[in-house]
């Protein structure tokens, strides 16, 4: 990677990093608040339809035998998957001392938090009586009732809540030095706000010593955690006897898919963000190029997983499994499988071209396709497998109702609203780490890297 980096004439200083972060967090204009209001409207729309669903019951959804897990569980898996890239970029790449992570990891971590929060809503939305969701927790009660610790749904509760806590703490600890810096250069209510959040951080040798060790160990914990969480999510399906789901390949397959979709969403968010917030000097084409390489690599892993899944079914010659996979390809919803292959396996191959990897427009378009493809994959796996179960007389293809569609759109509004508000009030790029790796930033900046002018 280092060999590809060409020097440029841009000589960023530490103060330039601060100034850029400060500019991003400057009081917002009308356009920003209109965007936040639009996202809030979508979230409110989803909330309104969820309220209606709670009042009317799950009959307002497209649920029906045999498909009782559908869009909501698809959304749950999709958002959990999105969350994983944040941990990958911030924790796993930190352990490998990868330099290009510095400009994008805060954005990815933030995405992780809001994606997990969004994902955590969907199992509750999916419940007929959502006010009893706390029954999953092992809490003291007079009947000595406890959840079944052998159930993958209970594992899910522990995995997701641990993941949310770990990711939130990882993000918060990393933010402290940057918030302290903002405290020192802000005025008015913002200064008071950052003073409280910075906890009195001053960057002494003792503080950095403990910070570095705590941050490293948090990364060390987050790395196996990220592998375990999506494995646990995959076991929600793999431990069932349902054809199309009962497979040992699910854990690694889901983890690769999570990294794939998550990195694609980082591109989707960061490309417009660097343009709108004028972050081109900090988030360079070098960073996007490396992110695109991760997307390309995980796309190939995903393609291999699809092929292996089909091969195993053909090799076992189990008639029910064979029929399920036949329906997956040629059934009524075979077009969803087509979308999945097109978006996840074929379109990412364009990323082999260095020119495409250095074009923000192309990267943005490809990342959108990957997101569509990965949502389709989860839909095919969940709804598609349940539609064609072991009783052909029960077969019925699921079609989402308006409630499910609007709650899904609402979840995107909720996610984008939270992300946008965070980006305006807290540092969305890590000033500390960018300063630490400023030599790399200088080398990668400007228009000379890597192949042509940034579009």
């Amino acid at each position: 990677m280092a060999a590809a980096v060409e020097p440029s004439n841009i000589q960023l200083s530490y103060l330039d990093v601060d100034r850029t972060a400060q500019r991003v967090m400057a009081p917002a204009g009308l356009k920003y608040w209109m965007w936040v209001a639009f996202c809030a409207f979508l979230a409110a729309l989803g909330g309104a339809f969820w309220t209606r669903q709670i009042y009317e019951g799950l009959g307002v959804t497209g649920y029906g035998q045999p498909t009782l897990w559908a869009v909501y569980i698809t959304n749950f898996v999709f958002w959990v998957g999105i969350a994983h890239s944040g941990t990958l970029i911030s924790a796993v790449l930190l352990l490998f001392r990868t330099r290009w992570r510095t400009a994008v990891y805060r954005c990815a971590e933030t995405m992780t938090i809001f994606a997990v929060v969004t994902a955590g809503l969907f199992p509750i939305v999916h419940l007929g009586r959502p006010w009893f969701f706390y029954w999953l927790c092992p809490y003291p009660n007079e009947r000595f009732l406890q959840p079944d610790f052998r159930s993958p749904l209970t594992w899910d509760f522990f995995a997701i809540s641990t993941y949310l806590t770990t990711s939130a703490l990882f993000l918060s600890v990393g933010l402290i030095p940057d918030i302290a810096n903002m405290r020192d250069i802000s005025i008015g209510w913002r200064k008071k706000f950052y003073t409280v959040l910075s906890c009195g951080w001053q960057g002494t040798d003792r503080q950095w010593r403990n910070f570095s060790m705590a941050y490293l160990l948090l990364a060390g914990f987050a790395t196996p955690l990220v592998l375990s969480v999506h494995s646990v999510v995959s076991w929600d399906f793999a431990t069932m006897q349902t054809p199309g789901m009962h497979s040992t390949i699910f854990a690694p397959y889901f983890v690769a898919g999570a990294i794939f979709s998550g990195c694609a969403l980082v591109l989707t968010l960061i490309i417009p963000m660097r343009k709108l917030l004028q972050l081109e000097d900090l988030v360079t084409i070098w960073h996007l190029d490396n992110l695109a390489k991760v997307v390309l690599f995980t796309s190939i892993v995903i393609t291999y997983s699809y092929a292996t899944e089909f091969f195993v079914v053909w090799y076992t010659q189990d008639p029910i499994e064979m029929m399920t996979f036949h329906e997956r390809l040629f059934g009524l919803q075979g077009y969803m499988f087509g979308i999945m292959i097109l978006c996840n396996c074929l379109i990412p191959l364009f990323l082999f071209s260095p020119r495409i990897r250095s074009s923000t427009v192309w990267l943005f378009v490809i990342s959108i396709f990957v997101n569509i493809g990965m949502w389709s994959e989860r839909f095919v796996l969940i709804s598609g497998s349940l539609s064609t179960n072991t009783m052909p007389s029960q077969w019925k293809f699921y079609v989402p109702a308006l409630t499910e569609v609007l709650i899904t759109i609402g979840s995107f509004g909720w996610f984008l609203m939270n992300f946008s508000v965070f980006a305006k009030f807290l540092p969305i790029v890590s000033m500390t780490e960018l300063k630490d790796g400023i030599e790399w930033l200088r080398k990668s900046g400007g228009e000379r890297y890597p192949y042509r002018k940034a579009s």
Binding site: S13, Y14, L15, D18, P138, F144, L145, Q146, F149, R150, T154, W155, F158, A159, S161, T162, T165, T166, L169, F170, S172, V173, I176, P177, A180, N181, D184, I185, C199, G200, W201, Q202, G203, T204, D205, R206, Q207, W208, R209, N210, F211, S212, M213, A214, L217, L218, F221, P224, L225, S228, V232, T432, E433, K435, D436
Partner: protein, 174 residues
């Protein structure tokens, strides 16, 4: 920290700051602390050499947290099974294999809580008073070295810091 005055040296690079720390060490002056805008390895190495610091004690708290979490997971899962011991299809009352997931997650959770709480505790956070000698630029683009010294040693220390490349040395009452 003891001394009549404090000298606040400001450095443009962490190399210069580390060099000044080494110079102070050779002059047997160890009553100092540093400020930096990012965790500089060069400064950390120089400070560790002077103070004889090993690795941060945070790791011990993390290990304790991890063990506590794993033990909690084991007690909660196995204890619940024994308390509510229904035989289902001849399966073992306490099935360790599925419980490993819970034990693992709690180990991570408690370990992480140990890391964060010990980081705050050992770093003296939250801090309500400013450390002596702190300047806002030390969080932005300069490296600070604050030395506590007797008035009579001030000139010698200032010379050491300037020789190492200090951009500015300011004297203040301690």
């Amino acid at each position: 920290m003891s001394g009549d005055i404090q000298l606040i040296g400001s450095f443009v690079t962490d190399d210069a700051c580390a060099e000044a720390i080494e110079a102070l060490h050779h002059a047997k002056i160890v009553a100092f602390h540093t400020f930096s805008p990012f965790p500089s390895e060069k400064i950390a190495e120089a400070v560790n050499e002077v103070r004889g610091w090993g690795r941060s004690p945070v790791r011990k708290f993390v290990m304790a947290g991890g063990f506590t979490g794993a033990l909690t997971g084991l007690v909660v899962t196995v204890g619940t099974s024994w308390e509510w011991n229904i035989n289902t299809g001849g399966r073992p009352i306490a099935s360790i294999t599925p419980y490993i997931v819970i034990i693992f997650e709690l180990m991570i959770l408690f370990g992480v809580l140990g890391a964060v709480s010990s980081f705050f505790f050992k770093s003296g956070l939250p801090a309500f008073d400013q450390s002596p000698g702190y300047r806002t630029r030390f969080g932005a683009d300069r490296f600070g070295l604050v030395v506590q010294a007797a008035e009579g040693d001030a000139a010698k220390i200032e010379a050491l810091m300037r020789d190492a490349g200090a951009e500015e040395v300011v004297r203040e009452a301690a």
